[in-house]
């Protein structure tokens, strides 16, 4: 409704109608009715504190210099900055650490398998002293399994030297927890005596395993090791064996944990092994 119309109506109403009715009509016409003075009864208002001024209360400074310095640097100070950096660095370190831990756990869990382990399993072989060794003898400790042969030209001796270094590094941190195992892929030529002579040059604690061709074949199959002995070899003729070159880290349950390869230095590999050992919850046997 437009303004002149309202004023005219109001004048008309105030002249001709009794007071109560007049008011009702006014309400009808006017927007004033919305802020009617009659209110529903309410609880008495709480005595409130005097309202804070809108501007923040200023800190008082002891000296002008202090005030000036505060004005220049704003709310930042050296202490606050250091605290911020330290907190950030701490958080970063924690998250990185946790990430690495989760990564290791994931690798260990992923290879754990639900039913039968994917790598490793039962075997029956003899060591360099002619004693029978089965998977049960290795259980309770971590074991590092490597496959090779004594006539190997370059890689196996190099890798065995690396394994010896790795083993020593792990021994320093966790003595007796790791069993270093060497399995031959060439049982025709590597008997216990050959193994003993060969492994003594690398590390006196290495366990060398050999057996019949079928036992070795089963062992290699269980560890998913590829090996190929040439088939058309005349007795006494020389040959080389082609085989996979990984170190297999097995946990105290005899389950496969991780494969360590040529890309790892002995120090890196030893660190990986020790880190896995730290996360092992169940008891560990030591030699």
């Amino acid at each position: 409704m437009s303004q002149p119309a309202t004023t005219a109506a109001r004048a008309l109403v105030s002249k001709n109608l009794p007071k109560a009715t007049r008011q009702q009509c006014l309400r009808f016409f006017s927007t004033a009715s919305r802020n009617a003075t009659t209110k529903r009864p309410t609880a008495a208002p709480c005595p409130s504190k005097p309202r804070q001024p809108l501007t923040q209360q200023r800190r008082t400074f002891k000296t002008v210099e202090e005030a000036k310095s505060r004005y220049r640097s704003g709310p930042f100070s050296l202490k606050a900055g250091l605290l911020f950096v330290a907190t950030g660095a701490g958080l970063m370190y924690y998250f990185e650490h946790e990430k690495e831990r989760m990564q290791r756990k994931r690798i260990a869990d992923a290879t754990k398998g639900v039913g039968k382990p994917k790598v490793g399993g039962p075997f029956e072989l003899i060591d360099q002293n002619g004693n029978k060794v089965t998977q049960e003898d290795l259980k309770g400790r971590y074991s590092l399994v490597y496959f090779g042969f004594t006539h190997c030209p370059d890689i196996c001796p190099e890798e065995l030297d690396k394994m010896a270094r790795m083993f020593d590094l792990v021994e320093e941190k966790r003595p007796g927890v790791l069993a270093p195992v060497f399995v031959t892929c060439d049982p025709a030529r590597d008997g216990p005596e050959e193994l003993k002579e060969y492994l003594n040059e690398f590390h006196p604690k290495f366990i060398g395993l050999t057996g019949t061709y079928d036992q070795i074949k089963a062992m290699c199959k269980a560890y998913r090791v590829y090996f190929s002995t040439p088939t058309n070899v005349a007795p006494g003729q020389d040959y080389l064996v082609d085989h996979s070159i990984y170190f297999y880290l097995m946990d105290p349950d005899g389950d496969f944990v991780e494969a360590l390869g040529r890309q790892h230095s002995p120090e890196q590999a030893a660190k990986i092994i020790v880190d896995h050992m730290k996360e092992w919850q169940k008891p560990i046997r030591t030699a």
Partner: protein
């Protein structure tokens, strides 16, 4: 190649190693590797890659080194190392080519030198 039979135990042992009857010890392996490195250095100098394919050129240029190599290593090892050399050179060339194309380098080591 026929090796003269000799009664000396060193010569007997060397013959056994060459034929693959026994596995070499650490010292014997080391000796073989040294002779191999000498031979390969000579091949490098004469830019011969495949000693099996360019047998005549290799024999002419590195006859003395070749003799030492064959004396100190098992016959199977000699062939293996010669083949390995070809593959390793090809691999390195391929890697260099890939790197030139901007490929990312992975940490792979094919050298004989032990890593520390």
């Amino acid at each position: 190649m026929v090796w003269p039979l000799s009664s000396s135990p060193e010569e007997k042992r060397a013959t056994e190693i060459r034929s693959g009857a026994v596995a070499p010890t650490r010292a014997e392996r080391q000796k073989c590797w040294e002779s191999r490195d000498l031979y390969f250095a000579c091949l490098d100098k004469n830019s011969i890659i495949d000693a099996l394919k360019d047998e005549k050129a290799a024999a002419k240029a590195c006859g003395a080194e070749s003799k030492g190599f064959e004396r100190d290593c098992a016959t199977q090892w000699v062939t293996y190392f010669k083949k390995w050399r070809v593959q390793d050179i090809q691999k390195k060339a391929r890697l260099a080519e890939l790197e030139a194309q901007g490929a990312n380098k992975l940490d792979v080591n094919t050298d004989f030198a032990p890593r520390t």
